[in-house]
């Protein structure tokens, strides 16, 4: 049940990319952090929830050929490092594109997709992925 409570706790960030903004230095963090690594103690009580729009740019990517079982129908797929417009850098899957369509600097936007499921009778995990923004 540990995994289930983690999923439930992380829903705001996984479902709709809720990040945290340090009101001391204005830096935005995604995934959310409880303490600002720059301001440390000065950020306590000042990390406010902030919505990430989900738009960004690919700064690096790789094509994954050896996939975990949950991605067997999607292989090969593209995993990219994305610089979000709000500042944070994250790793995300690029869907609905062939690897040869992906370029450094390509603009992407977030989409809501299935990530995995806990077997045929378990819970379905949803979260953000990205598509090329044409």
């Amino acid at each position: 049940m540990g995994e289930l409570s983690r999923m439930w706790r992380e829903m705001p960030s996984r479902y709709r990319m809720e990040g945290r903004k340090c009101e001391n230095c204005s830096r935005v963090y995604f995934p959310p952090r409880d303490i600002c690594p720059v301001c440390h103690r000065d950020s306590i009580g000042k990390m406010k929830p902030v919505d990430i729009a989900g738009n960004g740019e690919i700064i690096s990517y790789t094509v994954v050929h050896e996939t975990p079982p949950a991605f067997i129908r999607q292989k090969p797929y593209v995993l990219a490092i994305i610089k979000l417009d709000e500042g944070p850098m994250i790793t995300g899957q690029i869907v609905d594109s062939e690897p040869e369509e992906i370029k450094m600097g390509s603009r992407v936007k977030s989409v809501f997709r299935r990530i995995s499921e806990d077997g045929k009778s378990g819970v379905i995990h949803y979260g953000y992925k990205f598509t090329l923004d044409k």
Binding site: R16, I72, Q74, R113, R114, I124, Y126, K129, K134
Partner: protein, 351 residues
């Protein structure tokens, strides 16, 4: 007067052609194309389902309306392909759009008219003063058994309508329903594919309900077909809605804008609502729309809709239109389609 405040659709990017399906099952593709008038149908990605499609449609509706999830007081999701047998899709949508904890929500089921039943429900809640704005979604990733005629049409898509009393872009002047117990199409619990009662699909089911609901609405509103700028009907294939329109006395220029099945297939609960969404993309203030859904089992929901000046505000926000979604597509062959739709199955330990 209450009505549609904003709207948004989502159609998956992949398409498969009847030629591909016919090739595998040894059918004559021209025969199929002429019979049902479907030239391609949408196919969801392996990581898409009714919940993800509902969320994308809901987000497009919020963006187009310049609204936040916090403003939505109720969410009803109509579908025949909810990802869970027990656990509402509406809960997933509410979390994904950041809706408030204090809200009304449920899933609906009435074959292809569950989404429009949700629209009526939200409209009633708005008129009763229970909520300010509510959202009704029709979405499906429908299944047709391999080789069955439904395999040529059953597709995927979703549309969300935000209904309220303020900033109304399309007034719902009236709505009514017809209902009967008709064995035209059903799916028993635990069965992966639906069954259809062949001799019931046309006349006693689709045409009886759709044309009667449309006639009753025109009688109630004292209107004639020529009083409408647009008409949209449920689209199980490309032939039925055209025939219903002609029987009722509508011209092609009135129904072509909302007729999407020839290129996206039957999106079930999203079918009429996505047609309406395409019409709203093109509509001008003052336009009148007659919209009639159909759900097997069976019933029809009819709506008399009048577009207001607010529609121009929605168009300005520049959210992806239905026509745009029809342009940016990728065609797949039957093997990829079968893989995506999980017609090829793995053991529990593999996937």
């Amino acid at each position: 007067m209450s009505g549609i405040v904003s709207y948004g659709s989502y159609i998956p990017k992949y398409r498969v052609k009847p030629d591909e399906i016919a090739r595998v099952w040894g059918e004559d593709p021209e025969n199929i194309k002429n019979g049902i008038f479907i030239l391609s149908k949408s196919v969801p990605s392996p990581d898409e389902d009714t919940a993800t499609i509902s969320v994308e449609a809901a987000r497009n509706a919020l963006r187009r309306g310049g609204m936040s999830g916090q403003e939505i007081g109720s969410i009803y999701v109509g579908s025949e392909s909810h990802p869970y047998a027990v656990k509402p899709t509406a809960t997933i949508v509410s979390a994904a759009i950041g809706a408030d904890f204090k809200m009304f929500a449920a899933d609906y089921e009435f074959a292809c008219k569950a989404g429009t039943a949700g629209m009526q429900n939200v409209l009633g809640m708005v008129d009763a003063g229970m909520i300010k704005y509510g959202m009704a979604i029709g979405a499906d990733t429908s299944q047709g058994a391999p080789g069955d005629v439904l395999e040529y049409s059953a597709s995927a898509g979703g549309t969300a309508m935000i209904i309220g009393r303020e900033r109304v872009a399309a007034e719902i002047k009236s709505t009514l329903s017809v209902t009967s117990d008709t064995p035209d199409f059903w799916r028993r619990e635990g069965q992966p594919y639906p069954t259809h009662g062949e001799r019931f699909t046309g006349e006693p089911a689709y045409f009886r309900h759709v044309t009667n609901a449309a006639k009753m609405m025109m009688e109630r509103m004292q209107t004639k077909p020529e009083d409408y700028d647009y008409a949209v009907f449920h689209q199980p294939n490309g032939k039925f809605p055209t025939r219903a329109a002609k029987v009722l006395g509508f011209q092609e220029k009135q129904y072509k804008e909302g007729l999407l099945t020839p290129v996206i297939g039957n999106t079930y609960s999203a079918s009429m609502m996505t047609g309406l969404s395409a019409i709203l993309d093109a509509a001008k203030p003052g336009d009148r729309i007659l919209a009639v859904s159909f759900g097997s089992g069976a019933g029809s929901d009819a709506f008399h809709i009048e577009v207001t000046e607010e529609i121009e505000e929605l168009h300005k926000r520049n959210v992806t239109t239905v026509r745009k979604m029809l342009e940016d597509v990728k065609f797949v062959d039957y093997a990829i389609y079968a893989k995506f739709k999980k017609k090829i199955v793995f053991g529990e330990e593999v996937e």
